[in-house]
């Protein structure tokens, strides 16, 4: 039951984009088309899950036994950077069109605060190994959900009669704000 709560909470209530406001860069940058937004979501989900696992291992097997908690940020960054490189190579090999579509945002997952935020939050909340995996997976799905919803709205917005001054980033930010307000409504779901 605890696991389900963590999972639901990571997707809806404590959504990384719309609750913590982490990972806004790809959220706005890659949300112009649903298919590339979905791919970005999958890439982030993958990186998040693997990061959660590896950072838990490093945290609990290396950092905590040697009292090196203060190295968390540095070592997590190391994990994230390596994993993103790995994912980048993998996508480039297997799906060049996807590599093209994600463009600069793929290497930017490295500096995506959502990933580091995930690793640090999981360490902060003292999750067990299984809980951490569920937390990472849920957060990734939450990110995917947010970015795909955003892309769907923005595809519609292309055809809408948006005032000249708000075209582009302006209306995107307003949309994101309203979405965040909407997700605030989930807060009461879990006590």
């Amino acid at each position: 039951m605890e696991l389900v709560a963590i999972f639901i909470s990571a997707i809806l209530i404590n959504n990384f984009v719309l609750h913590y406001f982490l990972g806004i860069c790809p959220f706005l940058g890659v949300s112009k088309r649903i298919d590339s937004a979905f791919s970005m979501g999958l890439a982030v989900t993958f990186v998040m899950t693997i990061t959660a696992i590896v950072s838990w291992i490093i945290n609990h097997w290396v950092l905590i036994p040697y009292n090196l908690d203060y190295l968390q940020i540095v070592s997590f960054i190391l994990v994230i950077a390596s994993l993103v490189q790995l994912v980048e190579m993998f996508i480039r090999k297997t799906s060049p069109p996807l590599y093209q579509a994600l463009g600069i945002y793929l290497p930017l997952i490295t500096t995506n605060c959502a990933i580091l935020g995930l690793a640090l939050l999981a360490a902060l909340k003292n999750y067990s190994f299984i809980e951490t995996i569920i937390f990472g997976l849920g957060s990734g799905i939450g990110f995917t959900l947010a970015i795909v919803l955003m892309a769907g709205i923005r595809e519609q917005l292309d055809m809408a009669d948006v005032p000249e001054v708000l075209k582009g980033p302006g209306i995107a930010l307003i949309t994101a704000g309203i979405m965040a307000l909407g997700f605030l409504g989930f807060t009461g779901m879990l006590k």
Partner: protein
């Protein structure tokens, strides 16, 4: 000694990850056309996007794939285009320079007005409010929407109330064409010197009443140079600027309203263009 533990820990971690990455790199390596990297070195590397690609590398990829021309880099200019062409062993085609032309000669003195317009100072609003303050429905309103749209300071409203294009500054981006509510600005090749400076499609008798410089569709020019000029909806159109033999140009001066003109003293250049083309 205390300091050694974190140092060794981080060192070992870093080493592990880098070994992992090296192995992955060997396994997942993608062979790429080495030309792309060479082209990228030639290109300025400012990633401005003027070529229509997201960056210099994407543009280099486009050139290698044969999807685009090597002369689109406006930062590097012809020099870069030449270097790329040398590397790839292809010919560079210089693009024909184009320029915006305002196709109206209805100055304040020559065109007839409905009345005085005192609304917002914009062609667009004048067009909405009263269909323009000129009697001619095709004429320039002269409130300068095109001038404001021009990002290169290549236009200004002249003393006669019509926009003037500064040829040296104009890069033919087409912003003014979009801005004009009456669509009387056209992007034309610089070498085209025979231009019908009118868009009026009214019948001759009406057009003549509206403006002294209106094309009345008399057909003198199209009969003089049938290979280059034709008549359509009471309006003369230069449909083939390269097909205007020199001997027919003087005949164009017979235009009763001077709607068609040979601009500048360019008759010779036109004929050289013709020979080249």
């Amino acid at each position: 000694m205390e300091i050694l533990i974190p140092l060794i820990t981080m060192g070992v971690l870093g080493l592990l990850f880098s070994v992992g990455l090296v192995i992955a790199y060997k396994k997942l390596r993608v062979e790429e056309n080495p030309l792309i990297s060479k082209l990228e070195e030639i290109l300025p590397g400012v990633n401005c996007g003027a070529c229509g690609y997201s960056g210099c590398r994407a543009y280099a990829q486009g050139i290698v794939d044969g999807k685009t021309e090597p002369n689109l880099c406006s930062v590097g200019g012809n020099e870069t285009a030449q270097k790329i062409a040398d590397l790839l062993g292809i010919e560079v085609t210089q693009t024909v320079k184009k320029v915006a032309r305002v196709l109206c000669q209805g100055t304040i003195a020559l065109a007839k007005f409905k009345g005085e317009y005192r609304g917002i100072n914009s062609c667009f609003s004048a067009q909405i409010v009263c269909g323009g303050n000129k009697l001619c429905e095709y004429g320039c309103l002269g409130f300068g929407d095109c001038v404001r749209a021009c990002p290169f300071d290549a236009m200004y409203i002249g003393d006669d109330g019509l926009p003037v294009v500064i040829e040296e500054n104009c890069v033919a981006c087409g912003k003014c064409v979009e801005a004009c509510p009456r669509k009387i600005i056209e992007i034309l090749p610089v070498f085209q010197k025979v231009i019908v400076f009118c868009r009026n499609k009214d019948k001759g008798s009406l057009a003549r009443k509206l403006c002294e410089r209106a094309c009345i569709g008399c057909g003198i020019c199209s009969r003089a140079c049938p290979d280059g000029i034709k008549l359509e909806d009471n309006l003369a159109i230069v449909y083939n600027p390269l097909n205007l033999p020199q001997e027919c140009l003087p005949k164009l001066e017979k235009c009763p309203t001077k709607a068609i003109r040979v601009i500048g003293d360019e008759r010779e250049r036109i004929s050289t263009q013709q020979r080249a083309g």
